[in-house]
Amino acid sequence: MKLKLNKTTRKNFATYGVVILAYVLLQVMKGSLSSSLKGMLVPICAYVVMAISLNLTVGILGELSLGHAGFMSVGAFTGVTAAIALQNVIPAAPLRLAVGLAVGAAFAGIAGFLIGIPVLRLNGDYLAIVTLAFGEIIKSIFNNLYVGIDKNGMQFSLLSDKTNLAEGGKLIIEGPMGIGGIQKISTFTAGFILVMITLIIVFNLVNSRAGRAIMAIRDNHIAAESIGLHVTHYKMMAFVTSAALAGAAGTLFAMNYSTIMANKFDFNTSILVLVFVVLGGQGNMLGSIVAAAALTVLPEMLRTFADYRMLVYAIVLILVMLTTNNATLRSWFSRFSLKNREKEAA
């Protein structure tokens, strides 16, 4: 018993350790980083959180979601709106960012709950297709949403700007133009803290009765019902947690740019995050983190290839997939890992 518990815990602590080490190293090297790389630190953190949260749905709950960028979008728009609206109330930027992240997570969680009601009745391919549709619906909504603020409070309108703001009012979300004039208050430290919080939430959730139940439902939902588990309840718990974390990632991401548009969070972004999860290994959080960081930096590194950048990116992706699935290479790698050696001996 002791041994196994330590093994899971050891793996989790290794993940925390890698993240902390990466943060410290990057802080030390900050001076020598190129400016383009420096600008990517916050997006990397946001994508890492996205990858971990999607891994909760795909790896732990075992349901393929193709609309994860939708929740990121909800988080980005609501979180930034809250931060802008509270600009005068909360002058301290870090606190305003924290409130924005919380608001973004809360709204994305609510969206996750509402979408989860119809979606979680489905499974497999059907669930994947419906999440894809909801991702697009969310994109369309934000493309047509106008939100303004004046002394009378918040004003909302759809399709065209009918907000009729009073004197001194300000339009925050301008439909397809998105949100402009955002104060860039996201910092690498904030991103690091969010990654750590996400890891703690996901690891502790997975290693509790809820996580066991969620994984049991993934493995065999008929047996899960037969031992008295409320399947919908646990599926919803995983889905909403995943959506809320994606929402926080969205706020963090958006607060790093001066403008943010709904089209940024389209199907391609959902697929990109899914690639991080699949490449890093389903259910493997450290893998997700490494894959998200590497694949976010990679296009930047490939700038020397100019026009062929995306081609090289695709080839690198294919090569990584091939090598990680190669039996010979795998056994070669496993020589360096104590855990695998134990497994072979058994």
């Binding site: 065999n220 047996a223 008295g228």
Partner: protein, 281 residues
């Protein structure tokens, strides 16, 4: 080989038979005219069965007789189209599979359904979920409730695993266990839900004679320790005749005989169902 237990079955007010010791208590399960039809096919019909609180009962019959369908009706995997199931006096009509389990029926499956990627211990602990109280937040923030209940669950899981001497396998992945051990783990998982009626669907399938003998001992041990009723489907007649106190025989979805092992072995309808009719010369 274990000696045959002589049990006297006596009629109770509902005109069914239960072991003498369970007579004055409410039966744990009462099926009244239970049935289901898929389209025009009546898979099970007119199924009447009463099981005493500490009875070991057997449900036998040729392949395709509808035995597993009866289990699926009792656990609400299928919604019955006819009849009533009273579980400890409660009508299960509006219950879901999960609610039936929480009210006392646990089962195993003919084709093993373990949580393959979880460890043996996790398979058992997840079955205790209904009896755990700490919520998602105390799980995430590791509050005292989490530590307390997880410790209790861990100890109880090892205790239940020790019935089948499986404590040493607690950390093994369930999917990697040998076949016999997987069957035993399913029984332990079912027991972990703290049932009052345990349904075993072919528990001895794929076991060798010595494993089967051990299983028989363990089924009796489970009944004696937990004081629960057990209903089992089995093709191994040696096992059924040795440990079951009451037996029901199903053929083409209908009960053709009920009684003690001795009654059943002598029943011409049962012999006909299994071996066919004697040709009239």
């Amino acid at each position: 080989m274990a000696t045959r237990q002589k049990t006297k079955l006596v009629p109770i007010p509902s005109k069914s038979l239960v072991p003498e010791r369970d007579v004055d208590k409410r039966p744990i399960l009462e099926c009244i005219n239970l049935g289901i039809s898929f389209g025009g096919l009546k898979a099970v019909e007119g199924f009447d069965l009463t099981i005493g609180r500490t009875e070991i009962a057997g449900l036998i019959g040729p392949n395709g007789a509808g035995k597993t369908t009866v289990f699926n009706l009792l656990t609400k995997v299928y919604q019955p189209t006819m009849g009533t199931v009273l579980l400890d006096g409660m009508d299960t009509h509006d219950m879901t599979t999960a609610q039936v389990n929480r009210n006392g029926i646990a089962r195993t499956f003919q084709n093993i359904r373990l949580f393959q990627n979880l460890t043996v211990e996790e398979n058992v602990k997840v079955a205790m979920d209904a009896h755990m109280k700490y919520n998602m937040w105390s799980g995430i923030f590791r509050m005292p409730g989490y530590w307390k209940e997880e410790k209790i669950a861990h100890e109880r899981a090892l205790e239940l695993l020790s019935i089948f001497h499986m404590e040493d396998l607690a950390n093994a992945q369930a999917g990697s266990l040998p076949y016999g051990a997987q069957r035993r783990l399913e029984i332990v998982r079912a027991l972990a839900t703290n049932p009052s009626l345990l349904l075993l669907d072919e528990p001895a399938a794929g076991m060798n004679p010595s494993e089967t003998a051990e299983l028989m001992e363990n089924i009796r041990k489970i009944r004696d320790t937990f004081q629960i009723a057990i209903l089992l489907i089995e093709h191994d007649m040696n096992l059924v005749m040795n440990i079951c106190e009451g037996i029901a025989v199903l053929n083409f979805g209908r009960i053709i005989a009920k009684g003690t092992p001795d009654d059943i072995q002598a029943n011409p309808a049962v012999i006909e169902a299994y071996l066919g009719k004697k040709k009239e010369a």
